[in-house]
Amino acid sequence: DGHSPSACLITKTDTNPFFVKMREGAAAKAEELGITLNSYAGKVDGDHETQVQAIETCIANGADGILLTASDTSSISPVVQQARDAGLLVIALDTPLEPIDAADMTFATDNFLAGELIGKWAAATLGDEASNAKIGMLDLAISQPTVGVLRDQGFLTGFGIDIKDPSKWGDEDDPRIVGHDVTSGNEEGGRRAMENLLAIDPFINVVYTINEPAAAGAYEALRAIGRENDVLIVSVDGGCPGVQNVAEGVIGATSQQYPLLMASLGIEAIAAWAKDGTKPEATEGKNFFDTGVSLVTDQPADGVESISVAEGTDRCWG
């Protein structure tokens, strides 16, 4: 129809480095393919309303496709359907919609798997001590957005703890868990939450963190009382500062995700859709296109597949 193809990228926020990189990847690919890209984001983590408004805007703008990292995976379905009815290709990035076929395709990391990897690694690294571990859980927010729940519950599962209801954290009764606290996914929250948990039990020796900035904050709190060397911190994301922190021993291991890859693949898919109406295919044997997750650590543990920090640094995103 004469105009150049256009695409929308809608992320949960645009303040988290993860989504910042995702946008950079999409923008680079879009420029390469001559696609107009408009980016939108929620105002805060879990902002569903703004995402709905963004999808509506894309429909009004006559875009060809939408790359969506949904804050609320089930509630978004009706408006996604509206977009698909209007002829837009909708690709879920990072987080699958519920049901997963609400989107045309999903390019995702499995957040539960990401958590599970670090959980297994932590348990394996502690060995027999795992049964006496004292675990601090640094989560995202009290509104318990899904990504936070998936990572948290994945970690606990990997560590070998009964997670009860997998749709929320905080209902576990395993005595090894000292407590949960929330961090907003940044250094500030990480430090305060760690201090709070240390005040409950100063002998915490395993710390799960929602992402690497929170891990860096937790590390500062541990350093303040001189315990930075005897606590195992694990995290999820795989951003370059995070991987560097793994290299320097601040973080023991992190699950690396690939937002740039997801975004550029998504843009390519939209370009193809705009050109001749072809839809992307799912990974063999899965109902989504898995962009993968890898455990980054220099202390590999038996039975947990991992990549080295050097490799992680090559593939990191920020």
Partner: protein
């Protein structure tokens, strides 16, 4: 009569005329100034029209389509309804930080009632509205009887309601598909009315009716006059015969009820019920923004509720317009910040010029 005040009798033959002043402003500008002076809520209306035209010129028919223009209405319906509640509170010189949180809690209550306790949807809606009203009543009581500042009361209420909302719902979302299947009435306000490309939802209609109704009540009933009087000066209102306590209670309860309605509108708009809806966290600031852009004084007792609707629409126009123009979200955020200051500065300026 004592002789001492004979001199005052000289006043008895005083001329009764006072200085009469004519309005010297004539012509189009003069008449406009006059009109603005009499109806200050025209100011946000003018800003609204101006911003629609601005984006129309910038974006052309993409923006000037029935689809896009009615989309704005749909996008502001929740904030609009919350702004109506906020206006009532602000007119009494208060401020309500809890509006958004109450709305979200009401959605959760409606959902829980239907899906966990098996109550018929229509009754669940009524229960949700009752909960909103009751929360409003608590705030009202604390403000009116305990004489606590509204800012504090609703700040506390905000946190309490938000936490209660997460705890009560166990952070569980009720999916749109399930609601549609089992309790479609909860989504009733999402019902669409299509006229060509233009789409109205019952939620939008409700919002407009709400503003019309409140505008009538505030202007043409004793209750409305009392709301203004209490906002102006509660002590003077008390002394001149207004039941200040009753007025506060009615205002806070009405605001709570309207927040409940906003909750129902939310279910209609989003289909699902999610305790983590952002309205709970930022709905208050959005509503306050709409109210102040609408020219309603934060000091109470002054302003017309229509302004709040225009204020919400102005923000909606800017947000959609900037998004459609492809502005980065942070730039949009920043421009809305500028807009808030600019709108109020323009308002101030027009009032001064037209004084």
């Amino acid at each position: 009569m004592s002789p001492s005040d004979n001199h005052e009798s000289a006043a008895s033959s005083a001329v009764d005329a006072v200085a009469q002043f004519e309005d010297t402003r004539t012509g189009l500008v003069g008449r406009l100034q006059n009109r603005l002076h009499q109806t200050p809520s025209l100011v946000p209306l003018i800003v609204l029209l101006f911003s629609v035209i601005l984006f129309g010129v910038l974006l052309g028919s993409r923006f000037f389509s029935p689809f896009a223009l009615t989309l704005i209405l749909q996008q502001v319906q929740i904030v609009g309804v919350l702004a109506a509640a906020q206006t009532l509170i602000i007119l009494t010189a208060g401020i309500d930080l809890s509006v958004g949180a109450i709305a979200v809690l009401c959605t959760v209550v409606m959902g829980k009632a239907t899906f966990s306790y098996g109550i018929p949807p229509a009754v669940s809606v009524a229960i949700g509205l009752t909960v909103g009203t009751a929360l409003g009543a608590i705030s009202g009581w604390l403000v009116s009887r305990m004489k606590l500042p509204p800012f504090i009361v609703t700040l506390g209420m905000w946190q309490i309601v938000l936490a209660a909302n997460y705890l009560y719902s166990s952070n569980e979302t009720i999916r749109s598909q399930d609601i549609e299947a089992d309790a479609a009435f909860l989504q009733f306000l999402g019902t669409k009315l299509q006229f060509g490309g233009a789409t109205f939802t019952l939620g939008v209609v409700l919002m407009i009716l709400l503003f019309v109704g409140l505008a009538y009540a505030l202007r043409s009933t004793a209750w409305g006059r009392h709301v203004y009087a209490v906002g102006d000066d509660p002590e003077a209102a008390q002394l001149s015969g207004v039941d200040v306590h009753k007025t506060y209670m009615s205002v806070y309860m009405a605001a709570g009820l309207i927040c409940g309605l906003a909750g129902w509108v939310m279910i209609g708009r989003f289909g699902s019920i999610s305790p983590s809806a952002t309205t709970g966290v930022i709905g208050n600031i959005q509503a306050i923004t709409a109210v102040v852009i609408g020219g309603i004084s934060l000091f109470g007792g002054r302003g017309s509720i229509a302004g709040a609707l225009f204020g919400a629409l102005i923000v909606g126009v800017f947000e959609l317009g900037l998004r459609m123009a492809g502005a980065d979200p942070q730039w949009t955020f920043m421009l809305i910040g500028l807009l808030i200051i600019a709108a109020v500065a323009v308002d101030q300026w027009i009032r001064e010029v037209s004084a």
